[in-house]
């Protein structure tokens, strides 16, 4: 037990929690925007892969790190455009299209990787984002170490704040939320349901891709085929866990990251010697299912989620 307490009070543990939470926060915010507008985006897993790949490849080709972030976001928005065209004006099954987008985006990343690096056996490394030194803050005991984070992490939290502000404090946010609850009423106001939903999916997909790019540009310094490893699906669970609210979703991501950081450390303790390491690795997925079960009784789902809207049809 004392081992766990030692872990929980160490600054390096909390630094890891914030680091692990960052890509989840970015992608969860992306998914949340889509779902608040009424579109389930199962393309998230593949869009994170394409973000991780394009961001890394852009930097490897000589672009600055923020350029890589921008490239990743653009690539994500492109797949978001594809998803939204098929699901919004055409109203196709969001399940099937989402899975198709995930398959296409993942395959595109693999194809492009092999095309651009035909011979390599291990992927080349880039110089990733480094922890920011913030005068004053970084010199504080404990807190300075826990908040020793890269600019992309600070960006992730800023994005979460911006998403919350936009959704709840601006007319645009009101329209996005309304389009996920009652699209006919939005149309009656003279606003375009199609435009709002497509915009939400495209912007949301851009954020998912930046979440993916966090993995290559901030967390690791290379691209691996399996590196997203279900994080996208976990983010979908986090949106449900957060009851479709940005603040709660961020808390969920941090809670989730805490469990993830804890399981990595527990593997090195006496517990890790007894239990198979696969059990620790499965913990994030088991927790996600548990979160879905716990939150299932709450009826806060956007009313028009997964309901296509066709003008003139009542």
């Amino acid at each position: 037990m004392s081992e766990i307490v030692d872990i929980l009070i160490s600054a390096s543990f909390w630094a890891a929690v914030i680091r692990i939470a960052s890509p989840l926060i970015l992608a969860t915010m992306g998914e949340l925007i889509c779902e608040r507008a009424g579109v389930l985006n199962l393309g998230i897993e593949g869009i994170m892969v394409i973000g991780a790949f394009t961001g890394w490849m852009a930097v490897y080709q000589g672009m600055p790190l923020w350029g890589g972030v921008a490239v990743a976001m653009a690539a994500g928005m492109l797949f978001g455009l594809l998803h939204s065209v098929l699901t919004v004006p055409f109203g196709l099954s969001q399940h099937v299209v989402g899975l198709g987008v995930t398959l296409l985006a993942t395959a595109s990343a693999s194809f492009a990787y092999r095309l651009m690096l035909p011979q390599v056996t291990s992927p080349p490394k880039i110089t990733p984002f480094q922890p920011l030194y913030i005068p004053g803050l970084s010199d504080l005991p404990w807190l300075g170490a826990a908040l020793s984070q890269t600019a992309l992490t600070w960006f992730a939290f800023a994005v979460a704040g911006l998403v919350a502000f936009t959704l709840y404090r601006t007319p645009l946010g009101l329209a996005v939320r309304a389009v996920g609850e009652n699209p006919a009423a939005v149309e009656a106001q003279g606003l375009s349901v199609t435009g709002l939903r497509m915009g939400a999916v495209i912007v949301g997909s851009g954020l998912m891709a930046v979440g993916g790019a966090f993995l290559t540009l901030s967390a690791f310094s290379s691209f691996f085929f399996e590196m997203v490893n279900g994080r996208g699906w976990i983010c979908i669970a986090l949106v449900v866990f957060g009851a479709w609210k940005p603040g709660k979703a961020v808390l969920g991501a941090i809670l989730f990251a805490a469990f993830d950081a804890l399981q990595i450390r527990l593997q090195q303790t006496a517990l890790g010697a007894v239990l198979p390491y696969q059990l620790f690795l499965a913990l994030p997925f088991l927790l996600s299912i548990l979160a879905l079960i716990l939150m299932s009784r709450r009826a806060e789902v956007p009313a028009a989620l997964m309901v296509p809207y066709n003008k003139g049809e009542r």
Binding site: L86, H95, L99, L103, R114, N229
Partner: protein, 347 residues
């Protein structure tokens, strides 16, 4: 723009648009070949030759199609009831585990094959039962739970192969011991590298077709998929139908893993399936969820994979072109099918 239903779509529309979707996919294939710096026509020719150009190639394609028929059927059965089973990958491994558990000496001939097949189906069905009960009882979305279970299952397989199921003679490789000869599916024709799993897959497709068209359950599955509220209003036990669908779907997916182990590989390793469970979704959608169509599309999809492998060795275009084409075909096809029923009008 908005969509307007077409009262009586013409036959030309019903056949022409899906054909156009396949042609468009062909166009994408040629574009990708160009991007990769290869001759588009040569690449298409090499894929076709690699898939069907020799007896060996055809047998390889049919072998590759076998698990895809099973997973395609699993998805087709479930999607027909609008039960989104994306967990065929996990159910496949559940079946594969059963093939090893019962096939490495626990049972002998003639019991081992039928019993291990039955146990595999039960294991796959049990694995899907959880998410379906969560859906019917608590309203938990089965897409996410079945997806997450895929990852948990792969870790479980990895644990088994490094622990209790590790082959002591495996030179340290994480793989299971080999199945005893009696637990292996024999070849259909002696000397030809095609095992009975393929024949069983076709029998399964016919069986599913019979269930869907000739039984009450089939009728109920379709009714629930088309309109659950109306089905409930008509007095149908919607939740019970969903559970039965899940048992059938999970069982079919498990047979994919069982036949791969018992028919092709003879042992279990964690790379048994290169995503057969996910590819089953494409197979089922291209077949418009028709069980007999699944056999055709599974062979088509397997041919693309096998052909792309051969083409990649010769032309140097990355083999992932196959995955890109199939995802593209899926998206084009769902759009084409929609446009057979509706037209786009201004306003």
């Amino acid at each position: 723009m908005r969509l307007e239903a077409i009262p009586n779509p013409s036959a030309a529309r019903k056949i022409g648009l899906p054909a156009l979707a396949l042609l468009a996919t062909l166009g994408v294939a040629m574009l990708l070949a160009l991007i990769a710096g290869a001759n588009p026509f040569a690449v298409l020719g090499q894929i076709a030759r690699g898939a069907l150009g020799s007896k060996l190639a055809i047998l390889e394609t049919l072998n590759r199609a076998t698990p895809l028929i099973f997973t395609g059927l699993a998805v087709a059965v479930a999607f027909r009831a609008k039960l989104w089973n994306i967990g065929a990958e996990a159910q496949l491994y559940a079946g594969a585990i059963m093939a090893v558990v019962l096939g490495t000496g626990a049972l002998g001939s003639p019991l081992v094959l039928p019993v291990s097949a039955g146990a595999a189906m039960l294991a796959g069905a049990a694995l899907l039962l959880g998410p379906v009960l969560l859906k019917t009882r608590l309203g938990v979305d089965e897409v996410v739970t079945t997806l997450l279970l895929n990852f948990i299952m792969l870790l479980f397989v990895s644990y088994l192969l490094e622990g209790p199921m590790k082959d002591p003679m495996g030179m340290g490789w994480p793989k299971s011991p080999a199945l005893i000869p009696e637990a292996r599916l024999p070849r259909i024709v002696e000397g030809l590298r095609l095992h009975w799993g393929f024949a069983l897959a076709i029998i399964a497709a016919v069986a599913v077709w019979v269930i869907q068209t000739r039984t009450t359950l089939g009728f109920e599955i379709r009714a629930v998929g088309q309109n659950p509220e109306a089905a409930r209003f008509a007095g149908m036990p919607v939740n019970a139908v969903l559970v039965k669908t899940a048992l059938l779907s999970g069982g079919l997916a498990a047979l994919a893993g069982w036949s791969e182990v018992a028919g092709l590989k003879g042992h279990l390793s964690s790379d048994l399936s290169p995503g057969f469970g996910y590819t089953g979704i494409i197979v089922a959608m291209l077949a418009l969820l028709h069980p007999l169509g699944v056999v055709v599309t599974a062979i088509f999809v397997a041919g693309i994979f096998v052909g792309s492998d051969a083409m990649s060795r010769a032309a140097g275009v990355p083999t992932y072109i196959a995955d890109m084409l199939l995802a593209t075909a899926l998206l084009f096809m769902v759009l084409a099918i929609l446009l057979t029923r509706v037209r786009v009008v201004r306003g």
